[in-house]
Symmetry: D2
Subunit: 407 residues, 4 copies
């Protein structure tokens, strides 16, 4: 039926991708390689292996990879160097995991000689774009099979009917209607979309949130946290050096406990519609706040402003799926170049949903010069009379124009 | 001594501007007009009149104006239409009041035939720049007298000695060392700088904060608030229409009660140094969050992104004192043009330092289309197959490059 | 076969759109309304009427409109206010005509009760995007029929075979292989693509160019030209007031005579590939140069820089077909707001491909102040000592950083 | 009189800097080190040595350096990688030489133990800013002596009187009133300001131009030129590899012969006023055109657009004197990163003021894919049907908005 003899499927082990697995076998008559990644979503991966085996996938065609360190080190941390926020609010938790999955799919396709990759993202969302732009950028000849855009199983009922017909186990939760939300999770965040959230006027149910407690039930005592930065990345918590993934996991735990990082948002998708999403990004919320704080004393003003001016564009690149595009790569060289001096520590206070910066310093790179900023006698470090000329020349064009207009 | 016969002084009635008043009379041998504005700083203005009279200012030379409505309507609200934040954090509370003071100083200079204006801002700060750029833009021939850049009373001791020598009453608090902070307040915020804050590593004292309670002592019960927007401005709270200044005052009260809007920041001054400031902006913090939320459903994606891209530049214009410059004026036309559709309501929940958006809607301008975004059957509103072509063409340049590089 | 009962076709009268006309009648079994616009392409329009009648179009379904003044006034001039250039070179001659055609197609569809519009743009180019984005923005329910994306007449041979089979007259030039170029013309420019140009290493044939003489054969005598601007638009040539279209036609004539406005370019299409185009934009080349010159004395520096910073984005909006999108509309408000002061005159010298600005002035709006800029004695208009403070404060952050690094 | 015991003077050997030399000796009672650089201004440097000796400068305090290669390699070429143009026209010929002079002044100050540097730039221009910002960024403790801002020799008469009084030889040309222009030259350009040019309405005199012939008297025969690029820099002309300075010198010769690179401009100075300048940049004009051409086939679309968006800001950084500032340095990392693929050749035709690109190609890095762009049968390289989905999704937000507005 096609020239696709082998396809690598991004396989979670859940109902949807299990149906896709079967559908690929039937529709494309091709060998399927399953790829299941641990990016910190907090689910057991071994059941995915068992399910794959049961569906006839040979052991050498089953890839289960722990990508947590790579995810945080090469994707999350570089993104946070730019203080990246999409549309003023969203920390891009889903977006930033997709290029890693795309990269790994292409690597496995190469290793296994597969002609195609396949994924379970729908035709309405951003994730299909992120997977596929990444895949094409890394392998221009790859074929992409996006079942949701091809098949006719467009309702949950049809999907379950297909599953039952083909002997795919359907868990009780699906029979009972499944989760009311479409969810995605990784070390950076967990997201919720759909159902109850499709009315943006209605408040999200408190029972929806999974990673964070409500600020109302968070501890009554605040907790202080010292974060040490090196070249813009956090390298130690409270004096203890940790790996990137360990740091983020620990920050998630701390932030979650204190009700930090919930977000309820209507965002603009790349495919053209607005959608409402709720997110929990406890560790990321702490990281963003702390990173801005360490930059506030270690970054030159104009460098910081250049970064701020470019940040929304960088955020859109990631949101829209252009992580592997050359424009993101060259922009990253600029961002990374700015971080050489971003070394030092930040102290934050966590309390019932708040991340409060209470102190920051850098032994090596602080540009804060108390002898100049002081309201006290500065012993000549700054000559106030200079300000007169500074203002006069900055005002010159305004005065020339005002003179003209007053004629 | 000079060709200045009359000067308008921005006069608070406090020690510093009282000394300046006397110093102007002595140094410039000129008539002084005092201008005291109520921009919501929360202080009695009549004592300023009494002091001015006592220092020999004639009644017709004393201007005391209530500018609160003008301040919020023509300065604060236009700025919030852009979701304006300086350096990722600062809501520009001090910056936005200065151009109004500058405008009024020039108006009074014109009415009274004064050749000069004078202010009490120091030579190290941004406020001198904001006052003077505004003044020059509005009257290119105005003379500016900035005593802090001219005199030699550069320590508090000298200032008090001068005061005592000239019979200027010095309040007990000054004798005792004065406030440990340099403060500024208006309807949008109160700020603290100096002394204890000059070490950015040290946490601000809890006793410093004046407008907000600490989140820890805020009420245990959350409070919901409905905000109605018209053309991007809030026009009603909980269903009650109010004037701009009334709205902001009310939001300050509500926000302050719930511990909302504290900020501890190291910022980059226009005059070149970093300085640490603490700010309380309770109402503004609520407004910013709510404004983004109403925009999220009423603003086109690309318009929103254009605004986000331009916002840091707009913020710098205001921070640096270019409110009355043509680049700010033309940028404002763009910003205001985007707000025609920003109508609707937002519901927020206030709780111990958190402003949580829980719902938003617009009867007239919502671009959120549930029939398209839905995970359920959309009855053909969106053809998922379109996404294939969308991705294919967006990937084309990436694939061409990848093919070249794979050769 | 479809619910399309009537379709408006952008009809040039040429072979391609004549085949489309017939194909629409056959394939969609629908009534066809033809729309032929004079946007200054320099072709007789009445033959199109005769051809349409011959193909069975009823007289009331034939629209032939002279859109030249609207084209220049409402599309070309607003675009030139921004000094718009795509990718550093291209003056957007084709791009800017498409939104007008789209608008008129939608208007005629509305007047005639048509459900669809149709055009002859191919599936590889930008024009399909420009037509369709414009159409959808103006009428979200319109159906678009793009035959080149639907039919199988994808070679010139098949097209001609179809024409002959259906009795559509094929002119001799087509039988002989047709023009070696794909061309488009309107009052702003004429473009060439395809065939000989598909090798970007090869020089364009001199015989290709139609509107301009080669600089080599242009007159040996230069010609001076005075251009008067009002609000950023040219309103008079050599002292004679003229309508927008008359001005552009006259500038084309003058520029063409002097070999001005040829361009040979490889550009990046919105649909993802690079393509080589050659363009002749004689009048536009003069306008751009002159507009920058009048702005150089009438526009504030920061306003000019803001425009320059935004220009490439504005150019992309137009190139990509977003003329009718809200982001272009709000950006236009900014651009137009900047042009209030752009009044005065510019003198240019035309000579063998060169447009040389030799003088510019504005009686009402010149910000050039010779008393300040002069190398001679300025009698105190500018205090050179102010520069010391200006430099000192601008250098402050650099010195603080240098001190740190020198430790 | 001061703590300055030794000062390094940027010394041309001309009248102005000779007067400054003497004035420094008298006013500051300090040892003077003279620094004379060959940046390609086309003047003999040895006379400067003789004059310095005559004015009592010791041989070891006389520095005469040939900086031409460094100038082009490390300053001009990096700037051209960004297609840098200030205010749409100016190629920054003066601006780009200043940071090199500043760097060398600081190096010599360090080698000779000087506390100060001095220069002959006036208090009204940009050059003082460029020298001093560069110097402060490289040595925060350096003292700067800017005689034009300090002394009272503010007219030519006073200057000559001072010279004669102190036995400084005044050449005949000065006695006769000197050049009517203030000029500056280096390998990139020669500039003219002042006198006759202070009326922007008046055409520059033809006798003013020195480096280029008028297009009218340029050869009647065009000349073709092949330029080879490596990583964005020109490395060979007509097949012959040359050093950076040799290339630029050769391009100046060729461009000058063909009347290329004249510019008559009113520009906005950093110090606040508009000024009129005329420039000849023959080689640079060719380089800019050719560089854009090689980028047109080797640069990704979005990378090119990112560069275009950032270019005006980069140009302002250089114009305003921020070459050594961190924001320029980090932006350069982005620019340089984009140039890795900018390899290939460009053919230009030089003719009477015109630089016409007639061909371009890259064996290694061309992204131009003729199999896709072709109007002929592309054998399936591009599926035109993809365009339908591309347009549909890009139009989605426009259609949703249009539906709302049509209600």
């Amino acid at each position: 039926m096609s020239d696709i003899k082998k396809a690598v499927l991004a396989y979670s082990g859940g109902l949807d991708t299990s149906v896709i697995l079967k559908w690929l076998q039937d529709t494309y008559q091709c060998e399927v390689v399953t790829f299941t990644a641990d990016v910190g979503q907090g689910e057991e991966l071994e059941p995915a292996r068992a399910k794959a085996l049961k569906m006839g996938i040979t052991p050498e065609n089953i890839y289960i990879d722990d990508l947590r360190e790579e995810f945080v080190r090469d994707f999350v941390f570089p993104m946070f160097r730019a203080n990246t926020v999409y549309e003023g609010e969203y920390l891009l938790g889903t977006s930033i995991a997709r290029p890693l999955i795309a990269k790994r799919l292409i690597e496995i396709a190469s290793m296994t000689g597969a002609q195609a990759i396949s994924h379970g993202a729908t035709g309405k969302g951003n994730d299909q774009v992120r997977f596929e732009l990444g895949a094409y950028a890394l392998n221009p000849n790859i074929k992409v099979i996006a079942p949701w855009r091809e098949w006719d199983l467009l309702s949950r009922e049809k999907l379950m009917a297909y599953a039952e017909k083909h002997g795919i186990p359907v868990e009780m939760k699906h029979k009972q209607g499944g989760s009311p939300y479409s969810m995605d999770a990784n070390l950076l965040h967990i997201s919720y979309e759909g159902r109850h959230l499709e009315d943006p006027a209605a408040e999200a149910e408190d029972s929806m949130w999974r990673w964070t407690v409500s600020p109302e039930v968070a501890p009554d005592a605040a907790e202080y946290l010292d974060l040490e930065f090196k070249n813009g990345d956090i390298v130690a918590l409270n004096g203890t050096a940790m790996s990137p993934a360990t740091i983020l996991a620990k920050l998630n735990e701390l932030g979650g406990r204190h009700g930090i990082g919930r977000l309820d948002l209507v965002e603009n998708r790349y495919v053209g519609m607005k959608s409402r999403g709720c997110y929990e990004t406890p560790g990321g919320t702490i990281m963003l706040k702390a990173h801005r704080a360490i930059e506030s004393i270690t970054l030159d003003r104009e460098v910081a402003h250049l970064k701020d001016d470019l940040m929304p564009r960088y955020a859109s690149m990631i949101y829209n799926g252009y992580w592997w595009a050359p424009e993101r790569l060259v922009l990253q060289t600029l961002i990374d170049a700015t971080q050489k001096t971003v070394n030092g520590w930040v102290r934050v206070k966590l309390y019932k949903g708040n991340v409060i910066v209470v102190g920051r310093d850098s032994k090596t790179d602080s540009l804060f010069d108390p002898t100049i900023a002081t309201f006290e006698d500065d012993k000549g470090a700054y000559d106030q009379k200079d300000a007169a000329g500074f203002i006069k020349l900055n005002a010159l064009r305004l005065r020339i124009a005002a003179k003209l207009h007053s004629k």
